[in-house]
């Protein structure tokens, strides 16, 4: 007969059965029984953060870089409300998280007890599903189900709210059996006729493009391999969303760079003019499509996605294929090899004009900027960081803003799971705790958070976590003393009224680093930049790198809001050349 064990112990048994190695958390009254049990389970390591939001983002970084679900443990009330931002972030970017929260004892629920809040009510719209455990007998079933929901289909966060008395109560624990079927919510039964139809469209297309997104990354490393094969046997151009960077090598000639609001000129124009758009694991986000009514007007659109509700949500498509990216691409590759073994040869002629046109767009060199000898240009800083770290299998996280876009534009990723950024929710303060989680998952790899000085201050307390666990993360701050993206919008759209976007009292980041017990490095001139970056890379401790950059630099190219893809605003070089003055300004 199995022995009767406490709810707290059941939590750990479940985590062990789910092969959880790390939990990110912060103790408090309503989770003390679980924390008490921690000492008996040596295979699970707890990472103590400094704020529950940090726990959530660290778990996101862990999940995104390792492909395993991230686990978060927080207390009731403020513990749960603090993690809401991270849950919403994970929900928007499809990151599998399992959050376990403590709750006041069941007999106190609804009495406005100390540190009580309606956790399942608050987190209902920002999780795939959540549970309030009211009976100890349901606990193990619910936790296992939570992992299943978080990791199957389109991944996302879930939350299990466990009242304190349930953590103390005892019951039997029955070993977990993995079931293959899941409440009918798994969607991978696409029709092979659709694949044939797609291959037919592909062989007819004169101006095709692959538009890939985070779904390729979420589908696993094999999906990226298959995608590379698919691109190489078709010779089609490929562009990627912010979240999809890394699923195709960033320095490859078939890759047009990122698309969207700050995407390249060639990627956006190719999206606008194409006759066949193959969306693989992306969701037609508004930062990608620009003005919906004028989005890629002449193309047949194919959408491959595991989430049926993503189909036709923003853009009507001609051929939807609901399925896991990896299985769908694998079927496409097989079909092409069988039906058209010489696809690339027979197709080369047909799409050569298209490539010619893309070449012309490329000549615009839309990512170029005017470099300087006196001040460090932020783009230059990212480029140098890339050149000096590209041979190291580096993991990059970012905060949100200009620096994020510059990182996406100038850091060329060649592997999936190396790029962690908050795309959907756009959470300032994501990068530092995410870097903590990435470094936990990959202790011997170089992990750099490309940050802005405003964003990083939102979660700077997590430096303490990095120091506590000897996590040698590098916080590479492009410091322009402004909330740069806010300033850019104010410059372009609000008549240079820089309302509240300047940070007048910034800390001395080098001293701040020292106060946290890590290393501070400052770079002021382009001349010293390389040496300082090398010094940072060679430091085997957490580093805050204060890179003082040009304060006025704007992030180009850019699709102004409410404009279609072919009306991009290019950088200062192009603007000078074409003398876009009065009339051009109204383009914004």
């Amino acid at each position: 007969m199995p022995k009767s064990i406490s709810g707290a112990e059941i939590v750990f048994k479940c985590l062990e059965d789910q092969n959880v190695d790390f939990i990110f958390g912060y103790p408090g009254g309503a989770v003390l029984p679980i924390y008490d049990e921690l000492k008996n389970h040596s295979s699970i390591k707890h990472i103590l953060v400094r704020h529950e939001q940090g726990a959530g983002h660290a778990a996101e970084g862990y999940a995104r870089s390792s492909g395993k679900p991230g686990v978060v443990l927080v207390t009731s009330g403020p513990g749960a409300t603090n993690v809401v931002t991270a849950l919403t972030d994970a929900y928007m970017d499809s990151v599998p998280l399992v959050c376990i929260s403590g709750q006041v004892p069941t007999h106190l629920i609804g009495t406005d007890a100390f540190q009580e809040c309606d956790t399942t009510g608050i987190t209902r719209p920002c999780t795939k599903h959540n549970w309030l455990v009211k009976d100890i007998k349901d606990l193990s079933k619910i936790i296992h189900k939570a992992f299943e929901v978080a990791t199957t289909g389109r991944p996302g966060p879930v939350l299990v709210d466990i009242p304190k008395d349930i953590q103390f109560q005892k019951t039997n624990y029955s070993k977990f059996k993995k079931e293959n079927k899941y409440n009918g919510k798994k969607h991978n039964n696409f029709n092979h006729k659709d694949i044939d139809e797609l291959v037919k469209l592909m062989s007819k297309a004169k101006k095709p493009i692959f538009y890939t997104g985070g779904g390729v990354i979420n589908s696993g490393p094999k999906a990226s391999e298959l995608l590379r094969e698919l691109v190489s046997i078709t010779g089609f151009p490929i562009t990627s969303t912010l979240q999809g960077l890394g699923c195709y090598p960033g320095d490859d000639n078939l890759f047009l760079g990122m698309l969207g609001m700050h995407g390249t000129y060639e990627a956006n124009n190719a999206m606008h003019d194409c006759d066949l758009m193959i969306n693989i694991g992306a969701r037609f986000d508004d930062r990608i499509t620009g003005k919906i009514d004028e989005f890629s007007p002449k193309s047949k659109k194919v959408h491959i996605d595991i989430d049926p509700s993503s189909i036709n949500k923003n853009v009507k498509v001609d051929l939807p294929i609901v399925g896991d990216v990896q299985s769908v691409i694998s079927a496409i590759v097989k079909t092409i090899k069988k039906m058209k073994p010489n696809f690339i040869k027979s197709n080369k002629q047909q799409i050569s004009k298209w490539w010619e046109q893309i070449g012309k767009w490329r000549e615009k060199k839309s990512l170029e900027y005017i470099n300087s000898n006196e001040t460090i240009k932020p783009q230059y800083a990212v480029q140098r960081l890339y050149e000096l770290t590209k041979n190291k299998d580096t993991f990059i996280t970012t905060e949100v803003g200009q620096h994020q876009m510059w990182a996406a534009q100038h850091y060329k990723f060649d592997k999936p799971n190396r790029w962690m950024t908050s795309g959907g929710l756009g959470t300032m303060g994501y990068g530092l705790p995410a870097a903590v989680g990435v470094q936990i998952a990959h202790p011997n790899k170089l992990v750099v958070d490309i940050a802005g000085e405003a964003s990083v201050l939102m979660t700077i307390q997590e430096m303490s976590t990095a120091v506590q666990y000897n996590l040698p993360i590098k916080i590479f701050i492009l410091n322009n003393e402004y909330m740069g993206m806010v300033r850019q919008w104010q410059e372009l759209l609000h008549d240079k009224n820089y309302s509240e976007s300047y940070s007048a009292a910034l800390p001395d980041f080098v001293k701040l680093a020292e106060a946290y017990g890590c290393v501070g490095i400052r770079a002021k001139t382009p001349e010293e930049l390389d040496d300082k970056i090398i010094e940072m890379i060679n430091t085997d401790r957490p580093v805050i790198f204060d890179c003082l950059v040009d304060k006025q630099e704007n992030c180009f190219p850019m699709i102004p809001s409410g404009k279609p893809h072919n009306q991009m605003l290019l950088g200062p070089k192009d603007q000078e050349k074409n003398k876009i003055t009065g009339k051009g300004k109204t383009l914004v």
């Binding site: 209902r124 003005k291 009514d293 949500k313 409410g562």
Partner: protein, 182 residues
């Protein structure tokens, strides 16, 4: 060209709105109604009426009937988003014009006034399966089952016969014939 000051794109053209009746079979568990209703409010969908009750106590299944309006694209999204919810088993969608589906709402009318007026009221209600549920010297309570528009009309018409209180349910729906929705 006007200058847009928003970081978001300007709204596109709006399509034609249709009325649909969405029927959702869900696990009867705590919070399930909040999930369904929260989905509608969170994504800006419209709810005209709502009816919920357990229909199978053994399997623990409740049936939620929602009357909503939206463009075809929005109606599709409603169905797909509902299907994503973990406690949702199946989702059916009927158009109000659909002849193969029965829609019914129930209403209770309380009338206070002379016997003559009350009789007239009962007469007006006749074609909607009127039943008198309560009767006193001065008042009566009439139950009718009808379509939304008819109930709207009736509550207007009964005003002159001493209508003092109206209580009505949301619509429920069922297909005609031997078939059930799978």
């Amino acid at each position: 060209m006007s200058k847009s000051k928003s970081a978001y794109s300007i709204p596109g053209k709006k399509g034609k709105l249709d009325t649909h009746i969405i029927v959702v079979w869900v696990d009867n568990e705590a919070g399930v109604l909040a999930r369904v209703v929260g989905l509608f409010s969170g994504r800006g969908y419209n709810i005209e009426s709502l009816a919920v009750a357990e229909i199978d106590s053994k399997l623990n299944i409740s049936r939620i009937t929602i009357v909503t309006t939206g463009t075809p694209q929005v109606i599709d999204q409603i169905k797909l988003q509902l299907k994503k919810l973990v406690p949702v088993h199946k989702v059916a969608d009927f158009k109000r014009e659909d002849k193969q589906v029965i829609f019914k709402e129930m209403a209770l009318f309380k009338l206070v006034g002379s016997k003559d007026k009350r009789n007239k009221a009962l007469n007006t209600c006749k074609k909607f399966n009127a039943v008198i549920l309560d009767k006193t010297n001065k008042s009566c309570v009439i139950q009718i089952t009808a379509l939304r528009r008819d109930i709207d009309k009736m509550s207007n018409n009964l005003k002159k016969f001493g209508l003092v209180s109206v209580s009505r349910t949301g619509a429920v729906a069922m297909t005609r014939g031997a078939e059930t929705f799978k």
